[in-house]
Symmetry: C2
Subunit: 400 residues, 2 copies
């Protein structure tokens, strides 16, 4: 029997999904599992998008263009202009989820052995896509004590080598909820300019920025690096339509676009129906986004206060996205998260959290952290917080 | 401005899609373009699938499991059993199109520098996915003169090195329409067994086998290599629903499955709505497939006879799929295909064919060949054949 590849072996399992078998088992035993592990909002997809879905009137569900349906790309131009991001339809390539935009940008910009600098904790799948493309992630850890602020310029420069090809940021950040300040974004811009790097900028949570003092700054707002910037986007989170798998890769670098298009052609086309839904979603009324926004603000305030009330727990206040990295009084968050699913329940309920280790290249840096997504309604969040408190009381590896 | 990767540079543009800009231009000028280039059937998606689409009654379009919806995978078990392919639901991983199944099988089985042997002409995108994964394709050319029959075992063995990890076949074949005989399949089985190789077997056209003497043989019918086999599948062609992007990777090799699942988790999930449509498609009545089948048989007979009637043109009779590789009396099929779109029209119509060079690792082997897809109705095929004949008469690089 032939063996799988070394690449397949070193690929990390997703910290967000790897415990699914334990969760399935708990559910089979009739235990209610609160999913704090995954950024799967319980909020409705815009009505106008669901209506578009019901009204699809085609007899053949054919391929769409490799770079996406033109009318959708044109409509995205207007969407981005609302955020003062000025791009042309031909700068936009529609992808199968934001995931594919990350994969194709790595494939198109990085060769095997090339390096990118990524502030940590970071979205675990960046590592998976780096391994897929043979690129190497050089991590710069940020700390929970400093609220996950960007490390100093010296720490970045210490990592720059001849193989450094880019910096990757996620803003607002998954998993920490951190939102970069104007000073921090300028620091990144200066580095990108000085060393002529790519700036891979994942901005899928731009709608979810909660700080009045700290506005969202897109990488496309930074002057002088227009052709260095590759914006990664997705409609999944903002319209609560993760399942349609529609994202985008946006760049003014024509050389990169040309390479990306070859990867796009190889996979033929992004999902047709997803694009029809995404296009309709852009017409969601302002109240839709306002409601979603205030809901997340409430959930965030409720969750963070709740975490910080539990003895030994700590979470900074995230300024964006819908996650937080929290510190728990445990010996090993991987063990604790698995234990919650396999060995614990409170009033026939338990919680599914993503262990922090998977968001760091050095897993020990997240040994007592978990990522919690506040994608459940407040009643469920309250129940989940109670389960967390009771679990921590019962957990044999508790470390106060 | 930073440069794209070397990988991005050497990625081939799709021979099927690279001339799209010329075709768009012709259309802008009001010229009717017959698409013989792409396997995009004009036949309807099953009514039962379209009905399922209209009846989707969800308020949140959420992620599905990384390996696909369980009920769909279970239903596929029954579908495969109709072809005497016996697999369990856990052997099946749902992918975003057959393309992703190819990519993930390469990523999971091959490391950079590993080699796979592929009979040519071959589906151009295998090369693109090999480049994505750093694997090397060692091609064995089959010839139009021999009707694209499998080369001898000696030719295979001459290519086997320490880095050889697998053989890839597409059966029935895209682009040649060739269908492997029982002897040929046994030859492949013996090689796979002797050298403990992977057998990547793309069988997306299994419904389209037209020879009463030569039945479809799946790689899963071959005894003794059950754990070497990786079946690549897609619903795109059989249900005329290329746009939903649903495929599958099927293997009994648990080591490979484990690796594939990590790539699946990284991209989160295959399209939700596509899976709902694919699941419904499995219930298409027998008449649906019978009608589609007889339609393709008729189109094939009509097209091949038509090609062979044009002076200097030749096509073998394909026994499967819905393509043929035809030889044309031209100096350079790349030039001729481009010229048809940019410099020629007959009664305000022209044709879009895929140049043969893109289906060979040595492009010169296909210099006077084109791939023609018979996915248009007979009226359109007749018109396209007339345009081809007139184009060949007018083409300055004609070589009789």
């Amino acid at each position: 029997m032939p063996k799988s590849s070394f690449r397949g072996e070193i690929m990390p399992a997703s910290p967000i999904r790897k415990l699914v078998p334990l969760s399935d088992k708990a559910k089979e035993q009739g235990i209610k599992v609160y999913h704090l592990n995954i950024g799967q909002p319980d909020l409705p997809t815009p009505a106008i998008a669901l209506e578009a879905l019901r009204n699809i009137d085609r007899t053949t569900l054919e391929y769409s263009p490799s770079d996406g349906i033109k009318s959708y790309r044109e409509k995205l131009v207007e969407y981005y202009s609302r955020f003062d991001i000025h791009v042309a339809a031909e700068d936009i390539i529609v992808t199968t989820g934001g995931s594919e935009a990350v994969l194709f940008s790595f494939m198109s910009c990085l060769d095997s052995g090339d390096e990118i600098i990524v502030p940590e904790p970071a979205y675990a799948n960046y590592m998976a896509f780096a391994i897929s493309s043979g690129a190497i992630i050089k991590a710069i850890p940020s700390t929970i004590e400093e609220g996950f602020a960007l490390p100093s310029v010296e720490k970045f420069e210490a990592l720059i080598t001849e193989r450094t090809k880019g910096i990757l940021i996620c803003n607002p950040n998954n998993p920490s909820g951190y939102l970069y300040s104007s000073d921090e974004m300028n620091l990144i811009r200066d580095l990108v300019k000085k060393y002529d790097l790519f700036l891979f900028s994942d901005e899928v949570y731009r709608e979810f920025c909660y700080s009045s003092e700290r506005p969202y700054i897109s990488s496309f707002h930074l002057e002088g690096i227009e052709e260095n910037t590759i914006l990664i986007d997705s409609v999944s989170k903002r319209y609560s339509e993760c399942g349609i798998r529609i994202g985008a890769l946006i760049t003014k670098n024509s050389d990169v676009r040309k390479a990306v298009m070859k990867f796009c052609q190889a996979r033929l086309s992004p999902p047709l129906i997803g694009q029809l839904i995404a296009e309709a979603s852009l017409d969601a009324p302002a109240e839709y986004m306002e409601n979603i926004y205030s809901e997340y603000v409430e959930r965030r305030n409720f969750l963070i206060a709740g975490i910080n009330r539990i003895p030994g727990c700590y979470s900074p206040m995230p300024a964006g996205a819908f996650y937080t990295m929290a510190r728990l009084p445990v010996d090993d968050a991987d063990k604790f998260c698995a234990w919650c699913l396999s060995d614990f329940s409170y009033q026939n309920q338990t919680i599914f959290m993503a262990p922090g280790s998977g968001f760091y290249t050095k897993p020990e840096l997240g040994f007592n952290q978990v990522r919690i997504a506040y994608v459940l309604n407040k009643t469920d969040l309250a129940a989940a917080l109670l389960v967390l408190e009771k679990a921590l009381e019962a957990y044999p590896g508790r470390k106060l």
